[in-house]
């Protein structure tokens, strides 16, 4: 079993694997997102309360989930790289950060657009959106710390440490924001939670979620090749790869 793990640590293998996997991920992502869009927009029945506005969930929920998933995988990849000194972990963390940040922005925009019909304003400090906003600040902190160092290997390790500290704080932030929201606004305001959904509404959501995950995999593989090249520029295998 360990050869599989050992292979993951060798840059040429990661570089080649990323190149091979990217198109597969992208193709599967296109299919699942396509199906999710058609099924969600056309066939899923409108919500009895929110009418067709609820269809925004097919973009908001997957992107909110992806923003957290990407941050967790960034922090774990960084932790593995920091503890076991595997350079590829830093490459995965560096590749994962911008994707996660873009999904966080998407979740925030779709969340506030969805909130407009419900609350009458684009921003009403909904606990989930507030946590999402703080998550965006964590992303910006990690990405700017990584690029602030001239020596990329130190930037990687600093960003990995901040990623771990951030990951430990995400649940604390989420809980304290929820506590703060319930303190001031009480639970009356309809929060952005996922309403209980019948199958016809749920299937498109699951396929959109799967589609976004596959898309994340695809873009991660594409970015990873760039990150590996940046870190292994002097290595012999890069010269062969470039020449071919």
């Amino acid at each position: 079993m360990w050869t599989w793990f050992y292979k993951l640590a060798s840059p040429p293998y990661v570089y080649a694997a990323a190149a091979a996997l990217a198109p597969w991920f992208l193709g599967l992502a296109a299919i699942t997102v396509g199906y999710g869009l058609v099924d969600g927009l056309v066939y899923a029945p409108p919500d009895y309360q929110q009418g067709d506005a609820f269809r925004i969930i097919y973009v908001h929920a997957p992107s909110a989930w992806l923003s957290l998933f990407a941050y967790t995988s960034m922090a774990l990849a960084g932790a593995i790289a920091l503890v076991w000194r595997i350079k590829m972990g830093h490459a995965v963390a560096a590749a994962s950060a911008p994707i996660g940040a873009s999904f966080t922005v998407l979740a925030l925009v779709t969340g506030s657009l969805w909130g407009r019909p419900m609350w009458g304003t684009y921003w009403a400090w909904d606990p989930r959106l507030t946590s999402e906003l703080i998550l965006l600040f964590l992303y910006v902190g990690v990405m700017s710390l990584r690029s602030a160092f001239e020596d990329p290997s130190r930037g990687d390790r600093a960003a990995a440490l901040l990623g771990i500290v951030g990951l430990v704080n995400v649940p604390i932030i989420h809980y304290s924001v929820t506590w703060w929201n319930s303190l001031h606004q009480g639970a009356t305001v309809a929060k952005l939670g996922k309403p209980p959904m019948p199958g016809s509404m749920l299937w498109p959501l699951l396929s959109m979620l799967l589609g976004f995950m596959l898309f994340y995999g695809a873009v991660l593989c594409m970015r990873l090749r760039g990150e590996v090249l940046n870190r292994e520029r002097q290595a012999k295998w890069v010269r062969e790869a470039i020449k071919s």
Binding site: E150, D151, S153, R233, Q234
Partner: protein, 208 residues
Amino acid sequence: MNMAADGLSVEKVHVWRGDRHVLRGVSLSLGPRQLLHVSGPNGTGKTTLLRVVCGLLRPEQGQVSWRGHSISSARSEYQATLAYASHEPALKGDLTALENLRFAVGLKRRVTADELRSALQRTGVAACADLPARVLSAGQRRRVAMARVLAMSASLWLLDEPFTNLDAAGSDVMSSLLQSHVAGGGSALVVAHHELTVECDMRRMELA
């Protein structure tokens, strides 16, 4: 090599700083009663080598071991036995020379003010023991840093350009301190550009 058994040994250390391959497979060994003079043009990694040896910088490849054990396994025990003098004299401007020594040496071993004053005496700066370090000249600061290395009574000295800013008298004091340290069973790794006039078992290493 039995020499490495009870001294410092560095095997094939590689260090990259960004794209620059600063240390390319450097190896050395340093036993008791030995002095290693490391020299070479600027930017060839002399200071980086010192930082690797004292355990501040972990090399990408290669091994540093002290008395047979790798320093990464027992880092603070190893660092307790060494005294490192960096390129700057590393003194707090607001503290007096004596206070600087008390706080620096006091973390390594219990030491009395008299011992510190005698160390300052031996490096010729006893007069400015109670002056704040910021009013001292560069040469005096270097002598205070020398007194700190002396007062630590460490068995391994790692000195980065110890002779900078020293006048003739200062260089003689430095050379005699090095000689008595090495004669007394200690070992020293000195980075310096010019020739060292220390009568002891001295080897030279050129970093290209």
